[in-house]
Symmetry: C2
């Protein structure tokens, strides 16, 4: 049994904690939270041991009737692997604490690439993570692009990729964040950070990304334009490549899916935890090849796509399972179909 | 004096009517409207003669205290040129009436290309429209792309263009139209109609467009990716080409413009009618060349960018002014800076 702790219980942390709790080869020792809110209440109802970030935080849990397990160091002493799901750049501050204990840590994509030895996407570079102490599960957009570009690269060779990312501006639990009725270039300059970030996983693929925020709360929408090395690739062959690849979902307007709202509603029908969608959704009918360039639309559920990667990264660093064993186990427990 | 009528008084029609009324060489004979609403009231206050679409419509104006000038045919008999700003595909139904009278007509981009002899963008093909009976002022997105791609093509040669268009989903006067919190692929398939439409103006430029609707009411946001024929083109040369081209506006994040909301607020400061922006706004800092491909962001005010084209088209079909004379006069009267 791999003993796992999760530091941070926001959008990613609570999902990773639930996913870890479902793994037959892992034990969720506890989770770290700053304060006793509705998320803490539900975590306690699930039987998770809560840890505070400092004395004040621990006291606030006691005052609210919880029995906290201590602080981050107390949790660390009881685990083999800590998943750091703290807010952007906070992970970097915890790294020294993790390093001293010798415990393995999985950071998130909000941290800089150089916080870890490997920027990780299971189907791209699982074996690179074996035996390492620090791994970074890359961000939602980077995970989606890595899975799909790697698939195209393996099948046909990718000469160059250009991506326009329309980003959901805020998560569903951020009711005060904007914009309303505006497209915010983020950044105004090109490329956005996403292109270089994909290259931390797939260093040999030339890629330029452009990104802006739009008034939505769910899914990033990618417009993908890829020059292929192989000549004469057909739309059908691309569809087949995506069908055969793990953790990529093809959706169709024939099934009435024409919008990100449809994709998320479809995901809720799948019956997974929180209505999450762990795969990027690619519209089958959008796949088009013009003069050697492949075009398609892809939607990415920003809250959940990195969850399977976090689970696989835990097995990769401990060397407890092969890539195919780990991905199969993660897929089965999370309800991922391929 | 060119006698002009405007059939339709929606988003485009009311703007074209105001623009025509400002031209020293034109007389606005009247406008056609279906019913007496707030737009009719303001038109009457401006001294415009209102015409109805049929007897019932004319009666509704009389009942509301107006003195309508008659129906569409009555207006037609008094003009040299009719600007058809009726809703999408309605123009096609009027074409036979216009044809019979021999009067020249300017249609809008919502109509099919083959409704007219020329799909018109002043700086691209003014002279082609001379002496023709039927002209189509192309849509807002096509106008913006034609102006900018033509500029790049003249300066450096355009090998291929790929555009992702995030479309405002509804106009400010459509309070019930969605979506809320969704990205709607429109269409799911690639290319969208915009690429072929640009080719009605610039037939020799290979172009692929992808389009979706987002929850905003102002400006389409274009992410433009253009392969250039000339090698080694720098960002500065592209900036200069846009600076020298007519009816293109460069905006800068240094001036605090980082979002479409900023562009529209800037436009209101310019003091033009309705706060309109007749130029596509290109972010200077977004212009980037990577491996012979130029990238930039461009915002398009969907309600107003076609207005100068409609005015110039009136002069082009009547042969009353050269391209440079007409564009200069239109620019001056509308407050367009270059």
């Amino acid at each position: 049994m791999i003993r796992v702790g999760v530091n941070g219980f926001g959008t990613i942390g609570r999902r990773v904690a639930d996913a870890v709790a479902k793994q037959p080869d892992m034990k969720l020792v506890g989770i770290v939270k700053t304060k006793p809110d509705y998320k803490a209440k539900i975590a306690a109802q699930k039987g998770y041991t809560l840890f505070g970030v400092d004395d004040k935080s621990i006291q606030s849990f006691k005052d609210a009737g919880y029995k906290p397990g201590g602080n981050v160091e107390n949790l660390l002493s009881q685990v083999d692997v800590i998943v750091d799901a703290t807010p952007e750049d906070v992970g970097a501050a915890y790294k020294e604490m993790y390093r001293k204990t010798g415990k393995k840590a999985i950071f998130q994509g909000g941290e800089e690439h150089d916080i870890a030895e490997v920027s990780f996407v299971a189907q791209c570079n699982y074996d690179l993570a074996k035996g390492k102490q620090f791994i970074r599960a890359v961000s939602c957009n980077t995970t989606a692009l890595s899975r799909t570009l790697h698939t195209l690269d393996q099948a046909f060779g990718v000469k160059r990729a250009r991506i326009v990312i329309a980003r959901r501006a805020s998560d569903p639990d951020e009711p005060t964040k904007g914009p309303i009725d505006s497209v915010n270039l983020d950044p105004v300059t090109i490329p956005s950070h996403h292109g270089p970030d994909v290259q931390t996983v797939l260093p040999h693929i030339p890629i330029v990304t452009m990104a802006y925020k739009i008034p939505t709360t769910h899914m990033h929408l990618h417009s993908v334009i890829v020059s292929l090395k192989e000549n004469g690739v057909t739309e059908d062959r691309i569809i087949n490549a995506f069908k055969e690849a793990p953790r990529i979902l093809l959706v169709s307007q024939k099934d009435g899916i024409r919008a990100t709202a449809h994709v998320m509603d479809y995901a809720r029908e799948l019956g997974r935890n929180r209505g999450d969608l762990y795969e990027p959704a690619i519209w089958k009918e959008s796949i088009k090849v013009v003069d050697g360039e492949a075009y398609f639309f892809m939607a990415v559920h920003q809250e959940s796509i990195v969850v399977p990667e976090n689970v696989d990264a835990i097995r990769a660093v401990t060397g407890s399972a092969s890539k195919s064993e780990s991905m199969a186990m993660t897929n089965k427990t999370l309800g991922i179909l391929n």
